[in-house]
């Protein structure tokens, strides 16, 4: 397969089923609109992580809204709009609701609901990364065509990404092979949320960390690429200044390149068989795809998740959209 990543405009949709999720950001809704415009889709599996947005008190007046209210309100609006959109287009809707505290069961439910023998369009843009990994693991044999949309407008300031960490844990199914007689080497694929990455680092206190900054060269202009790298560097400056951290770059948008980079970096250690490899992806969804592809051939690594203590709308609209033929990627 020569072409692994295709601009959305160049992809001719043949799939009948789309897998997407409700989000407090509008990306999944906007991407769904574009997909439905092609008139090929007949069914939609819609995921709701509704526990994140349960709140006792109702959203009242504008003046009383805090950030949590805004996020919740946005999520509810997007949910209603997606439902309307699907109804207007006569799409068969399969809603799957689950809890963020039990991603494992949710991923299994999703797997059960997805058609077995046909290709599925999977809009990964708004899925939590750890749910994305779990879905991919449960559906190793299914054929996904993944779609990823960059945000239209993104927040930049370091403080806007200062989100705390509610919990850090080992992702079920990705426990890996961990032994007392090996040192812990951590691989952190960094995003803009420096606080979360720093918390993960401080939680594990590994002997050595490979910290990867996302490089989107080939997808964006040099200036835009530098802008992303500089942002990530600035937001993660405290982590990156640590002596145990080795800084490198990794593709932000090409999963196969991510897989290759992980292979290259980690093989130095795994060949010696003297390290527990612990990986956390705080970067983009395509990087998460790359991590999954890497994991398929390296199941001894442990993948950990960190859940944010709160949600914050950090982007608006959609930017460029790419299509990733995941099945081909896996088999290359």
């Amino acid at each position: 397969m020569a072409l692994r990543i295709i601009p959305f405009e160049d992809y001719y949709i043949k799939e009948k089923c789309v897998l997407t999720c409700v989000s407090y950001e509008d990306r999944s809704k906007l991407v769904l609109e574009k997909i439905l415009d092609t008139k090929k889709i007949t069914s939609c599996v819609l995921i709701k992580l509704s526990d994140l947005f349960e709140d006792k008190k109702p959203i009242t007046t504008l003046s009383s809204k805090n950030e949590d209210d805004l996020v919740r309100e946005s999520w509810i609006n997007n949910y209603n709009e997606i439902r309307d959109l699907l109804t207007r287009n006569n799409i068969n809707l399969i809603e799957i609701e689950g809890s963020s505290s039990d991603i494992f069961s949710l991923a299994k439910k999703i797997s059960d609901a997805l058609p077995v023998d046909e290709k599925i369009l999977f809009d990964i843009s708004s899925f939590p990364k750890y749910l994305l990994l779990e879905i991919l693991r449960w559906n190793e044999n299914k054929k996904f065509i993944c779609i990823y949309a960059r945000p239209g407008i993104e927040r930049e300031a370091e403080t806007e990404f200062s989100i705390g960490t509610k919990g850090i844990g080992v992702l079920k199914g990705f426990e890996g092979s961990i032994r007392f007689d090996r040192v812990n080497i951590m691989v952190l694929i960094l995003g803009f949320e420096g606080a979360r990455a720093l918390t993960v680092f401080k939680h594990f206190e590994p002997a050595k960390v490979f910290a990867f900054l996302g490089n989107s060269l080939g997808f964006f202009s040099t200036t835009t690429n530098e802008f992303y790298i500089d942002n990530a560097k600035r937001n993660n400056s405290q982590l990156l200044s640590n002596q145990r951290v080795i800084i490198d770059e990794i593709s932000a948008l090409d999963p196969y390149s991510v897989k290759e980079k992980l292979d290259l970096t980690i093989s130095n250690y795994s060949s010696k068989n003297d390290a527990n490899i612990i990986i956390s992806c705080l970067g983009t969804k395509p990087q998460t795809l790359g991590l999954f592809i890497y994991w398929l051939q390296n199941k001894h690594v442990q993948i950990i998740y960190s859940t944010p203590s709160k949600r914050r709308i950090s982007s608006k609209g959609v930017g460029p959209i790419w299509v990733y033929k995941i099945k081909e990627l896996l088999h290359e």
Binding site: D102, F104, E158, T159, S162, I163, G164, T165, I168, G169, V170, K172, G173, E175, S177, I178, R179, F180, D181, V183, N184, G194, A195, R196, L198, T199, K202, H203, F204, E205, P206, A207, K208, S237, Q238, L239, S241, Q243, R244, V245, I246, I247, N276, I278, Q302, I304, P308, S309, K310
Partner: protein, 813 residues
């Protein structure tokens, strides 16, 4: 600072040590030293006297005509009296006038961050103003070049010094010789990379002008600033042609402005990294004696190396851990030596160091990697989870013991008879119903790891077959088959980093602890309060009866700062000796003069700034060494005293880095930052007020608060306070005395000492200020008003005596 407003880049270059000063005769003249014309005049008078006395009256006119031209007069002097007389005469003039000079301008120069200095002055006013020779190297001959050091103020006296009259350069021949020296070549090369700042330049500084002209023809992009009182485009044309920026002003006002500008710059822009600290794993070739600063990632050999030099075994209260009749919970924050002490109880360490004990310990470090895979499922009953996790805990412990035994066998710490090993392994395999014909310890270890891994993927707990939760006891008994060493021994299961356990897992551990059964006891390390004292079935453990808590971060609180210092000095000197250094820590970190913006140097200061966190002390020294001697990360370097100004640079950077830990506060970042910054401003205000009230009194800093009526505290403030304590930005003080005149209980917090440099506070510590919780609640609404109100209130209620309520602290004089 008007003079330098337009030149931010100049300030930056000076602050970052990228500049080269030229101090001409104009600077010394300001101090009252003779300039070239005056010097020429004095020499000329000698000549006039001589020619009058010898009646060579035809010479008098010549001398009088050239009296203001030093070159000419010096030449006459040389021809009449000879070279020695000429140079001795100059030395004599300089020595005499220097005694009466006013060197205040040079004091200002010493307040500027270190940069290389070229001077044509013969006097020693500049170097004498540096309090000691720790920070400077004075170079006037090739043989002195060896003293040139990037971390010192290198003073190049290109006309020599009056203290060595033969070095004085006054004749044309002297200058010609100078151009052939290594010093000349070295200075020539400096122009390539440095910003040149010329102060007090006069036309008589012609040989400096020559170096400059020659170098600029090779490196035309030299950035130049010319500081001059009366700029004359006719006289200074060549400088202007070369693109020099002209700063019109006197040398004295220039240096006054410069000191303030650089001070402001360094306050506003602290670097966030020490670039020379090597990244990644600690390498064997790294010769920094402080390279091991944490136990994380250390293999057993490295740990042994660290063990002697981090927390020596004889140290303080933790020996209580050796007692066999109780469990112990060792509670302290990161970096206080908890893991070193606990790991020190482990069998490998006892054997290698030949420590005779009646117990044998096995150190088991927990982490989310292990514990995160075996959390309670939503449909687990209490009993089901107890059995599952207790069984896991037992197997995990057995696994770690097997790993340790493998290590002991491989490294010959303990010799196992083959027959005994086979018998032991067969018994354990049999207990666990494992079939494997290879009855050796590595095989057993792999089998146990395989069993333990099954627990990690036991998603269906109901059908998962667990091992006996109480198997650990049987296993420990089996050890006596393996080796006599284990006979008649008490067993310590040393569980480290137990704070990674969640509530349910801790409840299971309580079941282990409440079920006392000799010879087994648990030694537990946690960085946070254990918090759970009852198991799933109602069994409890009681402090004093079942267990003791040891607070490692309070050990020095009882004994005082002097003990802490002695302890640090000891461990540092052991490290230095281990790495074949002959210098002591006090020699390595000499204390300099406390001058503006430069208060943080000397061994004592390092000890204070570590805030009783041993790891912070080690890290401070480690990074100072990497900064001063970058090459030490790859090869042996003989350590010599690190100049005080360099220590100061490192401390400021480390202080800035420490504050950046606020990033880990997540969504509380904004609140924690506001809290810390507001408290910083409050303490600074109090300090400034104190200086105004008692300018002659020794000023100490309040860097802590005692919160009255804590129950009234706003939850948002409380959350920020707790987070700041968790991040070790704030510390909860240990009080020596019971406070007097206190009606309600107080909750105290104080700055980690490493924040003191960031806020430019004093190291001398003053009692914490009492603040009503209700007043603190206003901090987020209007921090400026909070600071203003509190400063006023605290001034009005200034207690009479500091000593009555002083926390155990210290003063740096």
């Amino acid at each position: 600072m008007e003079l330098l407003k337009k030149y931010p880049q100049l300030i930056k270059n000076i602050a970052e040590h990228n500049s080269l000063f030229f101090l001409g005769a104009g600077v010394s003249k300001f101090a009252g030293m003779p300039d070239a014309v005056e010097l020429s005049n004095i020499l000329g008078q000698d000549l006039l006297q001589h020619f009058t006395k010898t009646k060579q009256l035809d010479q008098l006119d010549k001398i009088e005509q050239n009296l203001h031209i030093l070159d000419e007069i010096a030449k006459y002097y040389f021809n009449i009296f000879g070279e020695n007389s000429l140079k001795n005469k100059i030395a004599e003039i300089i020595e005499l006038t220097q005694r009466k000079a006013n060197p205040s301008i040079f004091e200002k120069i010493t307040l500027i961050p270190r940069n290389d200095i070229i001077t044509t002055n013969f006097d020693t006013l500049l170097e004498s103003k540096f309090s000691s020779l720790k920070d400077i190297s004075v170079i006037w001959e090739d043989k002195h070049l060896i003293n040139n050091h990037p971390l010192k103020y290198n003073i190049f006296k290109i006309h020599g010094t009056y203290q060595d009259s033969t070095s004085i350069k006054i004749l044309k021949e002297d200058y010609a010789k100078f151009k052939k020296t290594e010093v000349y070549k070295f200075l020539f090369s400096l122009f390539k990379t440095k910003t040149l700042i010329i102060v007090g330049y006069s036309l008589n500084d012609s040989d400096f002008h020559d170096i400059f002209e020659e170098s600029i023809s090779v490196w035309p992009n030299v950035e130049i600033y010319l500081v001059i009182q009366n700029f004359d485009p006719l006289i200074h044309t060549s400088w202007q042609k070369r693109g020099a920026r002209i700063i019109e002003g006197g040398a004295d006002s220039f240096f006054t402005d410069l000191v303030d500008s650089v001070y402001t710059y360094t306050q506003e822009a602290l670097p966030e990294e020490i670039q020379t600290v090597p990244k990644g794993e600690i390498k064997k070739e790294d010769q920094n004696p402080f390279k091991f600063y944490t136990t994380d990632g250390l293999n057993p050999d490295q740990f042994i190396e660290l063990y002697h030099t981090f927390v020596p075994p004889e140290y303080s209260d933790f020996v209580k851990l050796y007692s066999i009749d109780k469990h112990h919970i060792l509670q302290s924050g990161r970096g206080t030596g908890k893991t070193v002490i606990l790991r020190g109880l482990s069998i490998e360490n006892l054997l290698i160091n030949n420590i005779k004990t009646n117990f044998v310990g096995f150190w088991i470090p927990f982490s989310t990697s292990f514990l995160g895979c075996v959390k309670r499922e939503s449909d687990d009953t209490d009993n089901e989870y107890y059995k599952f996790f207790a069984s896991y805990l037992a197997i995990l412990t057995v696994e770690k013991i097997c790993v340790i035994l493998t290590e002991c066998k491989d490294k010959n710490h303990l010799f196992f008879e083959k027959a005994n090993e086979e018998k032991f392994v067969s018994a354990v395999l049999n207990d666990l119903k494992i079939v494997n014909e290879n009855a050796d310890i590595p095989t057993l270890t792999n089998e146990i790891i395989a069993i333990r891994s099954e627990y990690h993927t036991a998603y269906d707990r109901k059908s998962f077959h667990i091992k006996d939760p109480l198997y650990l006891r049987t296993f420990l008994k089996r050890l006596s088959i393996l080796h006599d060493y284990f006979k008649e021994k008490y067993f310590f299961i040393v569980l480290d980093d137990v704070h990674f356990m969640d509530l349910n897992q801790k409840k299971v551990l309580i079941s282990f602890l409440s079920h006392r059964e000799y010879p087994l006891s648990f030694k537990i390390g946690t960085s946070r309060e254990f918090g759970v004292y009852t198991d799933f079935f109602g069994a409890t453990i009681q402090e004093g009866k079942d267990y003791e808590t040891v607070y490692l971060d309070r050990v020095f609180g009882k004994k005082g700062f002097e003990d802490y210092k002695k302890f640090l000095e000891n461990l540092a000197n052991i490290r230095l000796e281990t790495f074949k250094q002959t210098i002591t820590i006090k020699e390595l970190l000499p204390q300099g003069e406390r001058k503006k913006g430069e208060y943080y140097n000397g061994f004592d200061v390092y000890a204070i700034l570590s805030s009783q966190i041993i790891r912070d002390y080690i890290t401070l020294v480690k990074d100072t060494i990497y900064y001063a001697y970058p090459q030490i990360s790859t090869q042996y370097v003989k350590l010599e005293p690190i100049p005080p100004n360099v220590q100061n640079d490192v401390i400021y950077t480390k202080s800035s880095i420490h504050l950046k830990d606020i990033d880990a506060a997540g969504d509380l970042r904004k609140d924690v930052l506001l809290l810390i910054e507001t408290l910083g401003k409050l303490f600074k205000q109090i300090l400034e007020k104190s200086k105004q009230i008692s300018p002659n009194k020794e000023i100490r800093t309040a860097a802590g608060i005692d919160i009255k009526n804590f129950h009234n505290l706003d939850p948002r403030i409380e959350a920020a306070l707790n987070k700041a304590v968790e991040l070790q930005l704030l510390q909860i003080p240990f009080y020596f005395r019971i406070r007097q005149k206190t009606e309600t209980p107080l909750f105290g917090v104080k700055f980690h000492k490493l924040l003191i440099p960031y806020f430019r506070l004093k190291l001398g510590y003053r009692y914490p200020r009492q603040v009503e919780a209700s007043a603190l609640n206003r901090i987020f609404d209007s921090p400026e008003k909070f600071v203003a109100d509190l400063t006023k209130t605290l001034e009005e209620n200034e207690p009479e005596s500091d000593a009555a309520q002083m926390e155990i602290e210290y003063l740096v004089t």
